[in-house]
Subunit: 233 residues, 2 copies
Amino acid sequence: MNVNSKYKGNKMRRIAIIGGTGKEGKGLAYRWALSGHDVIIGSRSIEKAQIAADEVNELLPDHVKPVGGLENIQAADWAEIVTLTVPFAAHVDMLEYLKDTIRGKLLIDVTVPLVPPKVSVVKMPEAGSAGKEAKMILGEDTEVVIAFQNISYERLMRTGDIDCDVLVCGSSREARDTVLELVKDAGMVGWDAGPLANAMVIEGLTSVLIYINKRYGSKESGIRVTGVTGEEN
Amino acid sequence: MNVNSKYKGNKMRRIAIIGGTGKEGKGLAYRWALSGHDVIIGSRSIEKAQIAADEVNELLPDHVKPVGGLENIQAADWAEIVTLTVPFAAHVDMLEYLKDTIRGKLLIDVTVPLVPPKVSVVKMPEAGSAGKEAKMILGEDTEVVIAFQNISYERLMRTGDIDCDVLVCGSSREARDTVLELVKDAGMVGWDAGPLANAMVIEGLTSVLIYINKRYGSKESGIRVTGVTGEEN
């Protein structure tokens, strides 16, 4: 996989992955640990967190600092960047629970507002998107960036390219740029997709890709941004 | 360009392009005429419609049936498929005006709900999307399909591949399949992106691409669907 110096951001980060025992959480932990970041998986129980961390550590080469496991609130307290990978049904409650602990930090929200059983039909929460919902709960002092919604999580714990770009929306350009570095570090191509008002498009695209998978008998549809040839502004 | 027998749908259609004197309308007229469809450009004035049709006809080879020009309502009355390419500010009024004339036909809505001056920030109408707004106005008897929102219109009147896929949402699978044939006939790759509830994602993606153009100094960003390897269902 292309997690190497070419893609590597400049700064080592302390990253917690809240609700990180699922495939998406373990996949991101694996890729970020591999590129030199300090990663802790959080879960409601420390035992489950450590089991998930052990699974990731078995895949990591010996020279890499192993991933740790803690309860969610301890992981969030330790981290400078907090990644949220919980089912949408737990989104509001988990954010209320974390709110004070992560004040002033950067939240990367990976949540997709899927409403079973019709997960191939877009249905946004009243706030407009999961990202805007997070920002409403966390308030002015905490930056919120949404990312990684469209990645097929099957791909994250494999080596090799991921044939899907990562669209990043967030509450400030500085926060988006920090997350774009972490996208690179995870071996993926990221794009600044603008303010949180645009998050509904990126989150909703997951339902569209689920629909395309169903209609075309696929499992891992994704998207690539094309036609960008200019210089960054 | 790849408008050839390989891509060609089975059926010749009578297609009106309402508000078709802009780049998007003329571009679609050009590509559909080239692939053998019967096309009329509509405008508020027949003179403007005919000037636009003449521009398109100058680009078409001699053996192709020329594009016609009519007033919007006459063009809509003549057509079996009605394509709407008006600015969002004219969307509701034009649909009210056309409603009775196009009852029972298929509307292809190309409208993007951009709200100047912040066109790089997603802002959907109260109905949820322009496509849902059209369906609310037109009612049960008229099929609505949204398509072509993400194509840079600069590309439509040029020869050569368009490096952007077309995501198609609509009120029935049959209507989406008809439009997917027309996407092929226009030399593009189309995907069934599901029901009209998903239209907000495709329409909103235009603002995201405008944001990406601005941020990365590009003019023609687009998207491609990747990773689809299965068999259609």
